[in-house]
Subunit: 208 residues, 2 copies
């Protein structure tokens, strides 16, 4: 099926062009025409794949999510440790931070999407659907941690999950603004996790 | 000094035009010409005040910071409670969230600035200078709270301050994306504060 292969190859080329623009001058001011020029194809051909800038941004976001998921999965598989809830959560959260070129560009595409979504309710659907899924996954990990006695049972798993997601977002912003280093952001994330994974007093009865 | 008055009045008009654009279609795509048109003045006259879009954004940011500080001060003064460190921190943090039109627009101007700053190191100076000042102020409040026995002494005031600032930023993003309501974001902020202000066991000795 050479036609399908061409189609996929073309999408990948466009994707890489989007990526280059996002990581250098940013996607905010970039038009479809700019992306076509960067990909070395005509505007008409680009529009065969994406009719609007919003379609292109949503495609870029999906691509980034897939890359991030792969990165996180690889990171968890490469660990020598048992994938406990804490290890899984830490891998996901550090995977959300802009710690290298790929994740940095990914975050910037997310910011470009955010910008348009704030002024366009239809674009907000992605965030409204995606974040609650992530929160549910995190909350399930936290409930497991509560069962394992690693997180105190009085913690609300859904609320703690949303605190972690919001924190990762804010820490990322301040990495990109050079307010703190990537290392410092990871350290702050670990601080939040260590306070959450405070364990349960298993041996609370005083010794005689 | 009528000339000075005119000058201030003109800056205020431009400021309001910026504000209207930020709260509707966003400042990202807006040119100096767009702002001049919105303010009902010529481009040449606008450039008498701001030579570049970046100068205009920095001016808008300063204006927003002044408004936010005033809002937070008024909120603290209006409280019936004693301005304890916790009350002061809560007022500052909720003042950072986009809970009404003014703070929402303020946050959006901040996002427009962020966008450009990511791709322009000179613009990052503002964030690099401003956030550490805020962190120092928060950390001083937390050290006071530790002295008062309201926050456990093992907490690192600077790190906890940066966690709160990052959290407020992330919670704000998800308000604007309709992931959670403003009320939910305030509740999550209160959760973080209540875990931090866990107090100190003053009476740890076991009863006989």
């Amino acid at each position: 099926m050479p036609k399908k292969v061409d189609h996929e190859a073309r999408r990948r080329e466009i994707s890489q062009a989007l990526w280059r623009i996002a990581s250098t001058r940013g996607l905010e001011g970039a038009s479809l025409r700019d992306v076509a020029a960067e990909a070395g194809i005509s505007l008409g051909r680009l529009q065969h794949y994406f009719r609007t800038k919003d379609e292109m941004l949503v495609f870029a976001l999906r691509h980034i999510e897939a890359l991030a998921q792969q990165r996180i999965r690889e990171r968890i598989e490469a660990l020598d440790e048992e994938p406990t809830p804490r290890v899984v959560l830490r891998a996901c959260l550090t995977g959300m931070l802009p710690l290298d070129e790929q994740s940095r560009t990914g975050f910037l595409v997310g910011v470009a999407h955010f910008h348009r979504a704030v002024h366009d309710p239809s674009l907000r659907t992605d965030a409204r659907d995606g974040i609650p899924k992530l929160r549910s996954f995190f909350a399930a990990q936290l409930r497991l941690a509560i069962q394992r006695g690693e997180v105190p049972p009085e913690r609300d798993a859904d609320d703690e999950a949303m605190l972690l997601i919001s924190l990762a977002d804010g820490l990322s912003t301040y990495i990109l603004l050079d307010v703190h280093t990537p290392e410092k952001a990871v350290q702050l994330l670990d601080l939040q996790l260590s306070k959450l994974f405070a364990g349960v007093e298993r041996d609370a009865a005083p010794h005689p």
